[in-house]
């Protein structure tokens, strides 16, 4: 701080006026009489950034909260807090407050649709009208679980959502029906079967396990077509890009991110470096492999003594998983992969898909 001397004193306010038009507007008044060193502005911006800080000094805060909300929270272990227990008179005072407690505020409009459901809710990629009618999702994994719930006649509803909402980072997930005892926690896809105790056929045998690997080339071909083939760009937009945002710049960014993720996923499944870029992917190989896989599936289905895979009486998780991909190929990729599905095994796979759709009540 330097004393203000010199001739300029004859001009009032010349010095201590530091009115900033931008950011924080601040006047250094005569009372403080500070000159402004260079670091000052940096410090100023710091204080703009942190505008609050709180400490929690009352250990019984949790108890207060339980008293205020209808939902019960697990009781706290009191032992570790014993030393910090508040003196009795203060505790008595605290217990008197709040003096008045009103009923809770109503939740915003967007919530009301999502809350207070007596049914478990499956969050999937879909559109609002399709969700209302519980029509098939356009995402293979979402469609698999949606199909399973329908096949097992589990009462549920579906809602459109995005990967950001999911606890695992990808859809689908299930939100259990509202119960008064505890706030419902989301169930990731891998635990849906256990959670709902779905009446599924017995777990797959070792032989059947090997068929799971056939899903990889099918998945690769589906990803490759939808995300990396320019001819399906419009489909990709309709599925994943347009519902997210109307901004073309954000759409471009999202599309780029999705495409990179799809390429990385395909490369990873082929034990190549995921950052290799889509140039590393051999398109011919992708489509040869999917045909082989589909032929193997068709062969298995032809050998089955029932209409479902592995001679089961009822379709199970594997059937739903296959249906998830094949149905979308048939419906949306009629000229490409859909054509292959129709051709192999004399159309046995297409008939299989129609049976599943029928079982699910999708009259399509």
């Amino acid at each position: 701080m330097s004393p203000r001397t010199g001739p300029s004193n004859s001009f009032p306010n010349c010095h201590h006026l530091s009115h900033r038009l931008f950011g924080m507007s601040q006047t250094i008044t005569k009372t403080h009489d500070v000159s402004i060193p260079d670091f000052f502005s940096a410090k100023t911006s710091y204080f703009i950034r942190i505008t609050f800080a709180t400490i929690q000094s009352i250990p019984n805060n949790k108890t207060t909260r339980t008293a205020m909300t209808t939902t019960a929270t697990p009781s706290k272990p009191p032992a570790s807090w014993a030393l910090l227990q508040i003196p009795k008179p203060i505790q008595t005072l605290f217990n008197k407050f709040p003096l008045v407690t009103y009923p809770s505020n109503d939740l915003p409009l967007r919530t009301q649709l999502l809350n207070s459901s007596s049914l478990p809710t499956l969050y999937i990629f879909t559109t609002e009208p399709d969700a209302l009618a519980n029509l098939p999702s356009f995402n293979p994994t979402c469609l698999k679980w949606q199909t399973l719930l329908r096949l097992t006649r589990t009462p549920h509803r579906v809602l459109p959502s995005t990967n950001h909402a999911s606890p695992t980072g990808s859809l689908p997930f299930l939100l259990p029906a509202d119960s008064t005892s505890s706030p419902s926690k989301p169930i990731p896809a891998s635990r849906i079967t256990n959670h709902l105790s779905l009446a599924l056929p017995p777990p797959p045998t070792a032989r059947e396990e090997t068929f799971l690997s056939l899903l990889t080339p099918i998945r690769n071909a589906f990803l490759y077509s939808l995300y990396l083939l320019p001819s399906y760009e419009e489909l990709l937009n309709q599925f994943y890009i347009y519902p997210s945002t109307s901004s073309s710049l954000v759409q471009k960014t999202l599309r780029y991110q999705l495409r990179s993720a799809a390429a990385a996923s395909i490369l990873q499944s082929k034990n190549l470096h995921p950052d290799g870029g889509k140039e590393q992917i051999d398109e011919k190989e992708i489509f040869e492999e999917v045909r082989e896989a589909l032929e193997a599936l068709a062969g298995e289905l032809l050998q089955s003594r029932t209409e479902w895979f592995f001679g089961r009486e009822r379709p199970g998780e594997f059937d739903a998983g296959v249906f998830g991909y094949l149905w979308l190929m048939l419906v949306y990729m009629g000229g490409g992969l859909g054509q292959v599905v129709r051709e192999v095994g004399g159309g046995v796979l297409e008939r299989f898909c129609r049976r599943i759709a029928e079982e699910c009540g999708w009259d399509l």
Binding site: R4, G6, P7, S8, S10, F11, C14, H15, H16, L21, F22, M24, Q26, T31, H32, V34, D38, A42, K43, S45, Y46, F47, I50, F52, A53, T54, I55, I58, N60, N61, T64, M68, T69, F94, P98, V100, T101, Y102, S104, N105, P108, L109, R110, T111, L113, L114, N115, E128, L132, S161, T162, H164, A165, K185, P186, T245, S247, L249, V250, L254
Partner: protein, 515 residues
Amino acid sequence: MANFLGTEAPTALDGANTTSNPPAHHHKAYKASTHMLDEHYLTPASIASIEVHGATNTRRSLLNHIFNPLVESSSPGSPSTLGDVLGRLSVATRKLSRFDIFKEDAFNVFISEAKRTESVLPTNQTELNISISVKEKSRLVVSAGTDFGNVEGSAYTNALFRNIFGGAETLSVNASTGTRTRSAYNATFTTPVNGNPDLRVALDLLRSTTQKPWASHEEHLTGGNLRFSWLGNAKNETHTLTYSSIWRQLTDLYPTASPTVRADAGDSLKSSLTHTFTRDRRDNPMLPQSGYLLRSVSELAGWGPLNGDVSFAKTELETSGAVPVPIPGVKGNTGISLGAGLRFGLLYPLPLGYALTGPATPSRINDRFQLGGPTDVRGFKLGGLGPHDNYDSVGGDVFAAGSVNMLLPLPRTDTDSPLRLHLFANGGRLVALQNQNKSSEEKAFLKMGSNQVFHSVKSAVGELGNGLPSIAAGVGLVYAHPVARFELNFSLPVVLRKGEEGRKGLQVGVGIKFL
């Protein structure tokens, strides 16, 4: 160099001949000028020359904007007095200092009487040579540091490029990382318009990741703002008009996130136009004891050509004031003051596009208001008021909040000490729009007709007055540092709604804006 007036004054404006310390003869001149000030304030005077020393990196055109009007109004032959000249000079130097490119404590103005040249006809006017010496602030300031608070610790680096093109343009680049604001990058380019330090335009690019524990999620922001700022006509008034386009991504939900937060997860682009008006006539913003503050923020998002994914009109009004309390028998400032503050906010959903009557989408969590916290409605947790879904504060579309407080000097301190005792009571209501039309079909589609929006907003505003507001009261210590205010309060909630999160006991607040 052709000087402003073409006299024989030494040239310095082009920066070739800059001096950081004024030469000795200026001191003599100063003595002469003070003498002159006393005796000849009303004598006719004009400006013979103006020199600016030390503005090495500043463009001549910028200085012209400041000094040309001064020179034109005080040129030889004009009917100006010494008082006029000094007044105008004071205005001009203040303007110069507002560019924020010169060191505040190195401003010096020297005035001397110009030598009469033979060719000029003798007049009774005193001609003045004016010499202004300035020191430019360093053009590049790089700083780094750590910030801490009780719930946030962060480290930052900041680079400030001042006066980049010589026209008082500033570029500030900032990067920080912390526990709550996990990362933030920000670049702001600011320039005065037409050489006027009071009219500025700024372009701001930002990218940040912030944790929002009160609503169990993280928000990623990427976008930009274009901002015009100008001073109002009256004293201490500022206006800001901002166009902003920001991609918000609500992601990384906590496992306990409520369905409300899950429903709003994902991407949205907000394209909006915001006008902010501030009239700050408080004696001290950190410790107001007299005067008042008026602030209004009006935002229009998504409607008409703005586009984007969200559409609404949002307005927020804030006023606060303080009066000193006199004590009979005590002369002068007692150090006791009474203050009050009032805030009100409203979000009105609009249809996207140009229609006024089409279906509108209800608000999202990142557009709704949050209320409560140590610098807001004290005695509540951050976002402690309003609708709560489980433990998530999901915000509301309409709010009103108010506070009364009394500042008292502590015993054995000066009446102007920055440390005070304060008593306060504050409260508020935060209400979300409700569906007036209970038909399940419309609910399912998450759209509201314009009639329905109107009735919902009307009844939400009515709901503000339903029962007492949620209130907390307490007592605390206030420390007003010139850059921020610190509070340590003990408070108890008096009126609450179920689900709202009050805080019993101690609470610390640090900030520059308090209710």
